[in-house]
């Protein structure tokens, strides 16, 4: 196998912008007013990635446990803001705290297990492994948490009468919310399960494609991909289960009564 990687120069990258130019010509001709958004998003993407590229070069050249941990904390904080912002006005403070707890505990536990026990990275804070893998694990957990919390909030609101009737019939708050909890888990985990089902047949996952393009043997690339998919599955499940098991309780008071809106 030829392991030489074709390195892209500035000119080659600029040539890729031809796609954008063609798109702009087409939409202008058709009178669709989206030129500004397309231009801004393309340029923003380019600038952001250039910045990240330089940042990563620096971090990889100067590995430091504090920087690695700082970046993980930043990723988690950012993802938490993203989740909580989505539910502006319809999420209670206790449920926010549950989401913060589930995300920090669930994804960090899975991340460390994956890096230290599965891949056995050395030193443990090696940013070359830590940062991209943390990104995948935290990103997917964030999506799972958003879907799970959305389904939990909607379920407890729309099916309030059912939960109330179950309580009247002598159900514990947990039993009364069981169906909603199970449905929420399903909707949170389904995208991960679907992507595993299609993987390798419908599409080649990004990490694996990236590794192959950069010269890694496809066999090594698939080994990483399999491991990371299982890691993502574990982390999404753990964060969502933690959030649901603690989250449903925030809809009840200490007397096992549904909290009035």
């Amino acid at each position: 196998m030829d392991d030489t990687v074709i390195s892209l120069g500035i000119l080659q990258v600029a040539l890729a912008y031809v796609f954008v130019v063609i798109l702009l010509i087409i939409i202008r001709a058709r009178g669709i007013k989206r030129e500004k958004e397309i231009l801004v998003s393309s340029v923003r993407m380019t600038l952001q990635l250039i910045l990240v590229g330089f940042l990563l070069v620096y971090i990889f050249d100067n590995p430091n446990p504090l920087i690695t941990i700082g970046i993980i904390a930043l990723m988690i904080t950012f993802s938490l803001f993203t989740v909580i912002k989505k539910f502006k006005g319809q999420i209670s403070k206790p449920l926010k705290l549950v989401i913060v707890f589930a995300m920090s505990t669930g994804s960090v536990l899975c991340l460390f297990y994956f890096l230290l026990i599965v891949i056995q990275v050395s030193p443990w804070y090696d940013p070359r492994y830590f940062i991209p893998i943390a990104g995948m694990i935290i990103g997917n957990s964030m999506t799972g948490l958003t879907l799970g919390a959305k389904s939990l909030i909607e379920g407890m609101t729309e099916q309030r009468a059912f939960v109330e009737e179950a309580l009247i019939l002598g159900a514990t708050p947990k039993a009364a919310s069981k169906k909603i909890i199970n449905n929420s888990f399903d909707s949170a985990i389904l995208p991960t399960i679907n992507s595993m089902l299609g993987m390798g047949i419908v599409f080649l996952p990004g990490m694996m494609t990236g590794q192959i393009l950069s010269g890694t043997s496809p066999l090594t690339a698939i080994a990483y991909q399999i491991a990371i998919m299982l890691g993502i599955l574990g982390s999404v499940s753990l964060t969502v289960i933690l959030m649901l098991q603690l989250g449903y309780k925030t809809f009840f008071n200490r007397q096992g009564q549904l909290i009035q809106n």
Binding site: E165, L167, I168, G170, A175, Q257
Partner: protein, 213 residues
């Protein structure tokens, strides 16, 4: 058995003192919006008063586990919810919640017969009419065999002749088995015909009780 002492719930109801006797049928009457349903919900601890104390067998409700209490004091709401699934699923859901074993089909059919609901257990509950749903819900709480039954406007869906027969049967069931029943009704006639005590609720206040008959 149940005692309300200086109880207040939001601006809905205020009770200086109220006593509900054991093994009797008590009717709470009054116009809609007078706070009757709120009273019932406080009795089975679905809600708690903002002020005052409610005692059950001389113990403050705040000291009794809510789930244990609700299994003792079961409420039939005015429009009970019927869950997805078959008639059997709905009939036995309370037993499942309370982790009580499900009795054989013969027994389930006999309870359904009492409430004049003669349908196959495995039929979907979605085919039932409003009145039939109310009767299914009544059979569902009868299976749970609590100490106290709270009925919220049983007359609303049982208004016809069949309804009256069922209510009569149910009250007999209460008396034969030494149970306590508290029913909310706007119908003075039902209160008069079926209860031992009548309490009038008016604009969030409880009037003097009266012995019936």
């Amino acid at each position: 058995m149940l005692e309300f002492v200086s109880v207040k719930y939001k601006n809905v109801i205020e009770v200086d003192y109220l006593y509900i006797p054991k093994q009797r049928v008590t009717a709470l009457t009054g116009n809609s919006g007078s706070g009757k349903t709120t009273l019932l919900k406080m009795m089975n601890k679905m809600i708690s008063p903002c002020r005052g104390r409610i005692l059950f067998e001389k113990t403050d409700l705040n000291e009794i586990d809510s789930v244990v209490h609700r299994r003792n004091v079961i409420m039939l709401s005015q429009s009970p919810i019927i869950f997805e699934g078959s008639i059997r699923d709905n009939l036995t859901i309370g037993l499942d919640f309370q982790k009580i074993g499900v009795p054989p089909d013969d027994y389930l059919y006999s309870v359904m017969k009492k409430v004049k609901l003669e349908k196959e257990l495995d039929l979907s509950s979605s085919i039932l009419s409003g009145g039939e749903r109310q009767r299914l819900a009544l059979a569902r709480i009868m299976l749970l065999d609590p100490q106290v039954y709270l009925l919220d406007e049983p007359s609303s869906a049982l208004d016809d002749d069949t309804g009256q027969i069922i209510l009569g049967m149910f009250i007999n069931h209460i008396r034969d088995n030494d149970k306590t029943m508290i029913m909310v009704t706007h119908s003075k006639e039902i209160a008069k015909n079926y209860s031992d005590y009548i309490l009038e609720v008016d604009q969030g206040k409880i009037g003097n009780g009266s012995n019936n008959g």
